[in-house]
């Protein structure tokens, strides 16, 4: 029997994964690559949290039009995360405030956390992957 069969029988271990997104979209490839990795992870039925801090909060802004710079608009993909059972999306209050942003500016529903709450969330993870 292969390892894959063992996983299918539900014997796989579920770990707590945090994907920490700290970069603005488009200027670097981090945001898009991070999103791709999250979608792959979703296929393995893990406990996934997606966190947006610092310039990472810019990834979730509404009203994006990328035609002028001729790159893919991946902002709508954040809306599809729900369909992959990735429902734990968190943003950092301090990062939002520093950029003049509110929840109404974002393309998806998120939980806004204080720095202390964010620190606790990070501390309870098994694995943190940073983009």
């Amino acid at each position: 029997m292969s390892e894959m069969d063992d996983m299918d029988e539900g014997s796989g271990i579920i770990k707590k994964f945090m994907f920490l997104n700290r970069k603005a979209p488009h200027g670097t490839v981090y945001a898009l690559e991070g999103l791709e990795v999250v979608l792959i992870t979703a296929a393995f039925d893990q406990d996934v949290s997606m966190v947006f801090t610092d310039d990472g909060v810019y990834q979730l802004i509404k009203g994006v039009d990328t035609k002028g710079i001729e790159v893919k608009d991946f902002s709508k993909t954040y809306r599809a995360l729900d369909g992959y059972d990735i429902e734990k999306l968190y943003v950092d209050q301090k990062s939002m405030d520093a950029r003049g942003l509110t929840e109404e500016d974002l393309i998806v529903d998120v939980t806004v956390l204080s720095v202390d709450e964010m620190a606790n969330l990070m501390a309870e993870q098994d694995i943190v992957i940073s983009f």
Binding site: K23, A24, D55, V64, I69
Partner: protein
Amino acid sequence: MLHIVNKSATERGSLESCLAMATKGSAVLLIEDAVYAVTKGGTAAAKIQAAAADLKIYALGPDLAARGMSGRVLDGVNVVDYGGFVDLVAEHNSCQSWL
């Protein structure tokens, strides 16, 4: 001189270095992730508004649009398209890119 900045002011210090070095009458063009600096409510907004007294501040429109920021641009900032970018380079004797 035309100064060009392409990094986010909340991640790197290149905008601050640029504004410290840019002399009166110079032009500063913000592109790519640097365009967030000219949006309302951010920490860089006050710096940009203070700098606009002595400098001409430009931001690249397609980069603002791609980041959902077209509707949030500070007063006094000139939004240009790619043709405007070319004109700025042509109009100035020299360019400094703050990489």
